[in-house]
């Protein structure tokens, strides 16, 4: 095939097959291939070569690639992977002086890694044995189906290699220990918060606004209702103005199971102006906090293979702190679930009254006499107060102005005397 018989070079046919030509040029080559058997055969052979090459597949990337890369990323150093060629091949390639140093370096790195590995394993095992079992029960996810599953590392080795794996094993061990506790010690459930319930955790709230005609017995009735339903009054405020409607606002904590009955009784206090009820799903909040968030944080925050021991200790301290925080949060959530909150507002139907009887003349005279006496006393006291406040100033300025005033007075009299 040459340019005298074919409008395109062979390389251009190849470029057409590789998609390297422009659209116009590709269309021209395609048209030529339909007409030229020789070029079509060449194209077919190239396709066949490419097809044959696709059979050259390699085995999947080893799992160690991911693991070692992660270790190198966190450790900021390149981890040399182990050569699988065996001792004979290794010795065969390492007998020169230059490569001997390299071999010693690799050997030392592997030995150091093994020492760190063994030490790390011992430290993590020791910790897992010392975690109080009572704490572990709180850390178990509510439902395994709702929590994100922990995917085990690809490494076949059971020994943890870094802080993340130690934390993961810690989590796994806790979950298992918690399960065992529940299976073996059912009596202990009573003393521990039971977060592993199947039904959703709903925190219920209600709001009732009532208008009453007789405000007097309202407070007593509210207290009685709360007591009757095994609840309590968390907050109560009464406003008793003389010339306006009296009001009472209260926050009641009622066991969720008796919320409906309590609200019904509260509505019977008078005419209901407004009533609302709502339920907040807090199950997800608990699940997220207890499992996913902590584990994801642990996985994201690990720092390196060389510092595994120190990192593991820091992780453990952090996890302990989280457990304590979770206990507090879970108790608060449990309280919200067990006791519904009722916001009660009671307002009196205010009726304005007229004072029809005016005061008597004697009373008016007596009041006038009393007011006159008060005015007299107030004026005397006022003068005395003024004198006490102004006297020092008057004495001062009188002393200062006495001589100039006297001189001017005498001068005035002297001036006036000749005229007279």
């Amino acid at each position: 095939m040459n340019s005298s018989t074919h409008p395109f070079e062979q390389e251009e046919v190849m470029a057409y097959l590789d998609g390297e030509l422009s659209a116009n040029r590709a269309a021209s080559v395609a048209a030529h291939l339909r007409e030229c058997a020789e070029c079509a055969a060449l194209a077919e052979q190239m396709r066949e070569v490419s097809s044959q090459l696709t059979n050259w597949s390699v085995e999947p990337a080893p799992a160690n690639l991911t693991k070692n890369l992660e270790a190198s990323r966190t450790g900021h150093s390149s981890v040399k992977v182990k050569k699988p060629n065996g001792i004979a091949a290794w010795l065969g390639g390492k007998l020169t002086p230059l490569s001997g140093h390299w071999a010693w370096g690799v050997g030392s790195a592997v030995a150091l890694a093994l020492v760190v590995l063994l030490f790390t394993t011992r430290r993590s095992t020791t910790y897992l044995q010392t975690v109080p079992e009572a704490q572990l029960a709180y850390d178990r996810p509510r439902s395994r189906t709702e929590s994100k599953p922990w995917v085990a590392p690809a490494s076949p080795s059971h020994a943890p290699h870094n802080a993340s794996q130690m934390a993961a094993e810690l989590y796994s061990e806790r979950a298992q220990t918690s399960e065992n506790l529940e299976n073996d010690l059912p009596a202990s459930r009573g003393s521990l918060p039971t977060f592993q319930r199947d039904e959703p955790m709903i925190a219920r709230t209600a709001s009732v606004s009532v208008m009453v005609k007789d405000f007097g017995p309202v407070e007593a009735s509210v207290r009685a209702i709360a007591q009757r339903h095994n609840g309590y009054i968390a907050n109560l405020n009464s406003a008793l103005p003389q010339d306006a409607a009296r009001t009472l606002t209260a926050t009641l904590q009622i066991p969720s199971a008796q919320l409906e009955a309590a609200v019904t009784e509260l509505k019977q206090l008078g005419r209901v102006d407004q009533e609302t009820q709502s339920g907040e799903e807090v199950t997800k909040e608990f699940t997220d906090r207890a499992t996913e968030q902590r584990l994801l944080d642990v996985l994201r925050e690990h720092t390196g293979k060389v510092k595994d021991i120190l990192e593991a200790e820091q992780e453990i301290a952090r996890v302990r702190g989280e457990i304590e925080q979770m206990e507090a949060d879970q108790r608060a959530l449990q309280t919200r679930v067990d006791f519904a909150t009722v916001q009660l507002a009671v307002q009196e139907e205010y009726k304005a009254s007229l004072q029809s009887a005016p005061p008597s003349t004697t009373t008016r005279l007596r009041n006038a006499a009393v007011n006159g006496y008060r005015s007299l006393v107030e004026s005397v006291i006022g003068i005395g107060v003024f004198a006490l406040q102004a006297l020092p100033t008057l004495v001062l300025w009188g002393t200062v102005l006495f001589l100039p005033g006297r001189w001017m007075w005498k001068r005035f009299r002297r001036t006036a005397a000749p005229q007279s």
Binding site: M14, N55, V58, E59, L69, S72, G93, L299
Partner: protein
């Protein structure tokens, strides 16, 4: 890999966008890039080296170089060519440094990669046929066929003119055709 956040939204993100996110410190972007190119980078080295351990090591170094050198990436070229450019440089450096490359190469002729879903005999034929190609032509062929780089991308990686790449690729394919044609069971003697 821990820290991987390959959600559906990230799966829709282009390689170039991911490397830009990596420049901003996104750990999930690197994880996604690693998942996308783990097998291809591994295959890049595995097809060029018979020592699986060394191939693994160099693949690891490649991704570390991407991670640490992400800030130097400029969106003038595709991430794929950028990645395999790094891989090729690491491969070249490894070959230069290794005083035992020939020793390994000699020993490697007996060590064939494990196959998955391919006929081992056919693979051996192809591998041996490729090994018989001239080094420059072989590299162009591999970059084109397996790394699926364009002529221009190959030219940039190998510091060659595009026409040289084209001619080398053509010669490599023709030579490979000849070799495989001479091999029983390959290409059926079509020439």
């Amino acid at each position: 890999m821990p820290g991987c956040e390959s959600g559906s939204w990230r799966a829709m993100t282009s390689d170039e966008q991911l490397i830009l996110e990596l420049q901003q410190g996104s750990d999930g972007a690197f994880s996604e890039l690693f998942l996308r190119y783990r097998e291809r980078v591994w295959g890049f080295f595995r097809r060029r080296m018979n020592d699986t351990g060394q191939a693994e090591e160099l693949a690891q170094e490649t991704f570390l170089a991407v991670l640490h050198g992400a800030k130097r990436y400029e969106p003038r070229a595709t991430f794929r060519s950028y990645l395999f450019g790094i891989a090729f440089n690491i491969l070249a450096a490894s070959r230069r440094k290794s005083a035992h490359d020939r020793t390994h190469a000699a020993a490697a002729a007996e060590e064939m990669p494990a196959r998955s879903g391919s006929n081992p005999e056919n693979v051996i034929c192809i591998r041996q046929a490729v090994e018989r190609l001239e080094a420059g032509e072989r590299e162009v062929l591999l970059l084109r066929e397996f790394e699926e780089l364009s002529y221009e991308e190959i030219a940039k990686i190998l510091y060659l003119p595009v026409n040289t790449v084209k001619s080398r690729l053509f010669r490599a394919r023709m030579a490979l055709r000849d070799i495989l044609t001479a091999t029983p069971g390959s290409l059926g003697g079509r020439k």
